[in-house]
Each structure stands twice: as structure tokens, then as C-alpha cells.
Symmetry: C2
Subunit: 146 residues, 2 copies
């Protein structure tokens, strides 16, 4: 009885969740510490802060971007003083990209601004509504890991 592509949506509210998520994300992305940074550059810095030093190949895979495009992004970030490139001593073909102190600072400031914007909106909600969003954040994280 199961179908790979059901004719009717199993969870009609998925459309509501999709719309709300895309619009909130769109609004959040407007808040950043350095307006000169592109979305791609901002995202790479955030990923490095979250996961630690990475190879250019790992970054291009995560960002769904070609290796040459990531290379250009890394050139810009290095030029701006936000990342360092360190060749591996084991295998000299490999490079490790890591955040500088300035890079870490810009990531943290961007997060601070986004959170500040969000907290102002949360202030206008009831305690129950805030509680519901807290739970939702946890569930969404679980959903993404599945």
C-alpha cells in the first residue's frame, strides 16, 4: 500500500512550515557583522567556527560549490584576514583552512546581531509561544539529522 510518491500530501502543514522557515531565514540573513561579506563567505566562516579547521574540498562539498569557486572565496577571506591556509606536513598537497581571531570575531558578531534581532521579536510573544518555538528548534535539528 505504500507509495514512493503519495498522491496527497501526508502532512498538509508542511507547506506552512516551509514558508515560515524560508521567510524567517531570509530575514535573519540580512543581519551580519560585515556587509562586505557575501552570503557564501559568511557561511564558510560560520562552518569553520562550528566544525573547526577544514580542507578546501570539504568546504566546497558542504557549500555545494565547485572547488575553484571555494578557492576564490578562501582567497577573499584570507585577504580580509579572516582565515589562514596551512599546508599539511604529512601530505603536502593538502591544506587546512582555519579561522583567525578576526574571523572568529566576525562570526560571533554576526550571530550576536541575528540573535538580537530575533530576541526583540521573541519579546513580543507570550511565554507559551516562546516555549513552543524552543521545542520546535530541537525538533527541527532532529529532523535535519535524520
Amino acid at each position: 500500500m505504500s507509495a514512493v510518491l503519495p498522491a496527497a500530501p501526508a502532512h498538509p502543514f508542511a507547506a506552512e512550515l516551509r514558508g515560515a522557515t524560508l521567510r524567517l531565514a531570509r530575514r535573519l540573513r540580512l543581519e551580519k557583522a560585515d556587509d562586505e561579506l557575501s552570503d557564501g563567505q559568511t557561511s564558510v566562516l560560520a562552518y569553520l567556527e562550528r566544525r573547526g579547521a577544514q580542507s578546501p574540498a570539504a568546504l566546497s562539498a558542504f557549500e555545494h560549490v565547485s572547488p575553484p569557486s571555494m578557492n576564490r572565496t578562501l582567497n577573499a577571506l584570507q585577504e580580509a584576514g579572516y582565515v589562514d591556509r596551512t599546508p599539511s606536513s604529512d601530505d603536502r598537497r593538502m591544506v587546512s583552512v582555519s579561522l583567525t581571531d578576526a574571523g572568529r570575531a566576525v562570526v560571533q558578531e554576526t550571530r550576536r546581531r541575528r540573535d538580537a534581532w530575533l530576541e526583540q521579536r521573541l519579546d513580543e510573544l507570550s511565554a507559551d509561544e516562546r516555549h513552543a518555538l524552543t521545542e520546535a528548534a530541537t525538533i527541527i535539528r532532529k529532523l535535519l539529522e535524520a
Copy 2:
């Protein structure tokens, strides 16, 4: 006692909500009906479907993009057969941008794919968790309107 910029976050879970939202949105944006369409083009089509015909100026404002950039986006969408441009008969400087049937179809197919992806993830959750996300979607919409 109130401060415009509080020293400590009033709602520490804002960071969780921010992270979950940005990552879910990132994943959702990968699903689209026409891989040739850029994110900006996809977003313009969705906006036209949601709000009806709009002027180029209104679209560039909503997309936070310059009028010439929007003009180029509209050229591409018109070339692809997804939008029409109709001059106003009242004020001949003004243009109305509207979806063609093909444009409407590609918006709906993109939404269908995103919802299908999301519904598969929702299937792996409990009924309580799905209920929590339903409520969250409503609250987020309210939050964005504030």
C-alpha cells in the same frame, strides 16, 4: 531598568532557533523544479504567485536588489517564458509583471518538491513532534509580521 541593548540575551534559545531555521532553509532551497533557475529568479516567481502581479520596483524592493539587477532577472524569466511584462494604460511609464501559466507551474512544482522532501522527514517524527512544528509555523508567521 530597561536597556536598548541588554548585556545578556533575554532568550538564550534564540541561538538554537536561528541555527535550526537557517539550516532547514538551506536544505529546502536545494529542492527546486528547474535547476537552471537561480535563487533570485525562484524567489521572484514565488512572490508573484503569492501576491499577484507586481511592478519591477516593488520586486526589487522586496528582493533587496537594485532595479537594474531586477530588470536582468525579469529579462531572464521572460526569456524562459515564466513571466509577462504589460505596460500600464494609465501611466505608460509603469509595467506590470505577471506569471505565465508555465511560471505558475514551475512555482507549484518547486513547492511540491520542497513539501515532499519535508513530508518524508515529518514521517519520521512522532505525532506530538509534528503538532509542535505546526504550532511553531503559525508563531513564526506572527513573529515575522510584528
